[in-house]
Symmetry: C2
Subunit: 527 residues, 2 copies
């Protein structure tokens, strides 16, 4: 049920009088729902409740937290058509995408549940005592990872489910043992409230402490700012713009106790097209990339916004065909009029840059809020000079850079800011010959992809969805896949502690049968 209220723990509360509505971009009209902006009191209440809940929740076993996460997945499924309809209305995205994203969100929750059931993620490390060591006895030291406290999660505009209320940030923080306060994304607050309801139901069913989850509505920046400044909040997860992420990060650094903001921000996901790909598979890649650039109206963080290749006749052919493909794809609705307006503005700004030329665009009429795709081209020298062209244009846009030679291409890769992904199209022999290019690309990205498109992010332990700044604020961490849990924990070492009073993962008998590093050797056996 969508009431427009905030969830402060298991209570729906709306003390404020400022309201806002969500918008159906496809139908170009407001949705019927009104949402109550969280008040300062409500924010404090949510954080204090989270802090209390943490005292219990941090000691809940992995098995029980797994039950909670699995129950969230079930409750999300139980929301049925209402969730899908609300998602579609508030995002303009098609039903198939809504269902796919729901499946992914449930899959993520279940992946974290499995991680907890297996248990080795705590990185238990044990060095046993050597009382007779000379010149000094060696103490018994045992460390593992522990949750850090209440976490604030900012939902993303472009993934109303998988990167929002019960998305990867929330799932990973809850898995770690941290209560979560979600700052709901204003563009899909109804979807958010439904998912929040599912989480609250699951928390009750599985006996989690009240306050383990809260959901606060907000259409501006104040609620988020207050949350990040609250002394009891210990970390922040954010997916969004470079401007938003760096502002929150700065705010968090200015606190008396600075806290980490794990922000996934902009990326143009460079694609290096090697000669063999242009010669042998030009048509295939032109089709694939026209589809990838326009997928979901280009509203993916892994959208290929930069295609790089050395000038050749084959490149000319590729550009011609890419232009043709691009012009023929029917535009789709963007997430919100504001996003469509910003896209239009940034795309026009890029088009107005010196020496850029049109590769292809959708030239027909389109409904309001539909993103009309455009691909430009420019030469390498100009691209190097004009860093505006290095910036992300969020939407169905890309830029083909025509380089003089490999050296110029390498300079361009070195001049790029940090990126989530880098893709290479080419055959194996070329990879060997172009190792300097590939190495330069690797230094700028978190994931190197061969002969594919960057859109589509597999959820698995080996995934790294992160990259050097400004792709993320901390290149060490991923926001996709189970390794995302490592953002919300810190190690604590116990020295000479009675073994029976240690957490199970550190006890001699290893009752959870987790993999541990014991006196320098990996083992899941008892000591």
């Amino acid at each position: 049920m969508i009431t427009g209220k905030n969830y402060i723990g298991d209570e729906r509360i709306a003390k404020g009088n400022k309201t806002y509505k969500t918008f159906n971009p496809k139908e170009n009209k407001e949705t019927p729902y009104s949402f109550y902006e969280a008040t300062e009191d409500e924010i404090n209440q949510a954080v204090e409740l989270a802090s209390e809940a943490f005292q219990t929740y941090k000691n809940v076993s992995g098995a029980k937290k797994a039950d909670f996460l699995n129950a969230i997945a079930e409750e999300i499924e139980a929301l049925g058509d209402l969730l899908i309809e609300t998602y579609v209305a508030e995002s303009g995205l098609p039903e198939g995408r809504a269902k796919g994203e729901r499946g992914r969100t449930m899959g993520q929750l279940r992946a974290f549940a499995s991680l907890l059931q297996e248990g080795s993620w705590v990185e238990a490390t044990i060095d046993t005592a050597q009382p007779k060591r000379e010149p000094l006895p060696k103490p018994d030291i045992r460390k593992m990872l522990f949750p850090i406290g209440p976490v604030v999660v900012f939902g993303a505009s472009n993934f109303p489910l998988a990167f929002s209320t019960a998305g990867g940030d929330t799932a990973s923080a809850l898995a770690a043992g941290c209560p979560v306060i979600v700052k709901s994304h204003p563009m899909h607050a109804g979807t958010g409230e439904l998912v929040a309801e599912a989480i609250i139901k699951a928390a009750k069913k599985t006996g989690m402490p009240n306050g383990v989850f809260s959901n606060l509505n907000s259409s501006g920046i104040e609620v988020g700012q207050q949350l990040v400044k609250h002394p009891t909040v210990k970390a922040v997860g954010f997916t969004g713009s470079i401007k938003g992420g760096t502002a929150l990060s700065k705010l968090a650094q200015e606190r008396k106790e600075p806290i980490p903001v794990y922000a996934e921000m902009g990326s143009i996901n460079p694609v290096v097209i090697l000669p063999s790909a242009l010669k042998e598979h030009s048509s295939h890649w032109a089709q694939q990339y026209a589809a990838s650039i326009t997928l979901g109206a280009g509203q993916f963080c892994t959208n290929p916004g930069l295609l790089l290749a050395v000038k050749s006749d084959a490149l000319n052919g590729f550009i011609t065909q890419l232009g043709k493909e691009i012009s023929q794809i029917a535009p789709t609705a963007m997430l919100h009029p504001n996003i469509c307006d910003t896209y239009q503005k940034n795309m026009e700004l890029a088009s107005a840059q010196d020496k850029t030329k049109l590769v292809g665009a959708y030239e027909g009429q389109a409904s309001p809020n539909f993103g009309k795709q455009k691909v430009l081209t420019v030469n390498g020298q100009e691209f190097l000079k004009n860093t505006l062209l290095h910036q992300e244009v969020f939407g169905p846009y890309s830029l083909v850079v025509q380089c003089e030679n490999d050296e110029e291409l390498k300079h361009i890769l070195e001049a790029l800011e940090g990126q989530l992904t880098g893709t290479v199209l080419g055959n194996k022999d070329e990879l060997k010959n172009k190792s300097a290019l590939i190495d330069a690309l690797k230094e700028r990205v978190g994931r190197l992809i061969l002969n594919s498109v960057p859109t589509g992010v597999e959820v698995c332990p080996s995934m790294h969805h992160g990259g050097p700044f400004p792709a993320t604020t901390d290149a060490k961490y991923t926001s996709v896949g189970v390794a995302a849990i490592k953002r919300w924990v810190r190690p604590v070492a116990y020295q000479n502690w009675p073994v029976e009073l240690l957490p199970q993962a550190l006890q001699n008998t290893n009752p959870l049968k987790v993999m541990r590093l014991v006196n320098g050797e990996y083992s899941n056996k008892p000591i």
Copy 2:
């Protein structure tokens, strides 16, 4: 040989004309050596050389990097008496400590060498392809940790060897595959130059690229600032004051590309004394703590600066005896007149605080630069009110807080800033009964110690020498033990990459026999 010059890679260079001298605090006179402050050009040259070296060094095998680290240990040993004499002259610390710290430094280098030889530290994670998965095929994804680039290390005043030129920060960064530029500590620049010479010799002997290590002299803050701001520097290691660490961290955040500063800063290392310890072992702990408070003139980051207990007759007895023990210990030289002056000032400021009372102090005459120890006491209520008393007094000082009851003690623990360590003195049964106190302590610290003193930090995989802010800037990381390597790396995932072009740790045959997470299972077998 001490020349006073900077090491820019393997060249000794001194282009500047600003010089400074080191000081022998025990003899209260300057040492014979003059050091040339690094110029702006020299700084840039060192960073650029490091950046070039990185192109080669990042691909050097673990086995070869291990040879390099082991060779550094050998070359440090080969410096013989000159190193020990210089250390003693520049620090005022006794010969035994110098030799012990040399042993520890060599041990750290060798521990990282072993870590590299074993190889599993790269956290290789592999998910193999499922080409027939529905609705979409699953790609092959493989990730591991890679070095991030040139690292700047700031030597610590209080550990001229183990936390300086070839200390844990340098050893861990070199082990990770990152070139290191050391900003030499001005108080022991001669010791630093000797160790730098050892590193350079080892680099040449084992064929490491020139620029893998540089050592820059500096008596002020400008050299360090310029290093942290240099766009090619990718991370910073620092051990020192809260003021210094937070200033560098702020500078690093203001860069176009912010970089992490791993700073280990202040800590007062609270010790909770439970009734059984006071009743049964009062005299033992009074002796142990008098020794720990004054060890190395109190100049350890794990110095016990805060003893907490509930009021009782037994506590009174403990305080009386601690005072007696403290007054009888002969003071020793502090590291530098500046450090001794600051100690004196901060100790007097604490003594002047309302309601503090003297427990014990060395009241006799002492040589110049010798730190005269002092222990104060105050009641819990006053301590809670006056946060000046929560601040570290770097030197042989401690404060006994007399609490009304467990509740007040718990409030005090909750009010403390983050700490490196927390210690509990008491018997097992008490630990069970006092779980709320211990839990509150755990939330503020990186290491929990039972029935010991916090001074003495074991170098082993399970050690965590880090803690919530301001103990460190990032509570996730340790600066002691092999886990310190994790600060200088980031994951990169390869998607659909030809297996033979992957790093060895990710290849199917697992030629390095490292422990990997393959399709969700830990294994050191081939795929």
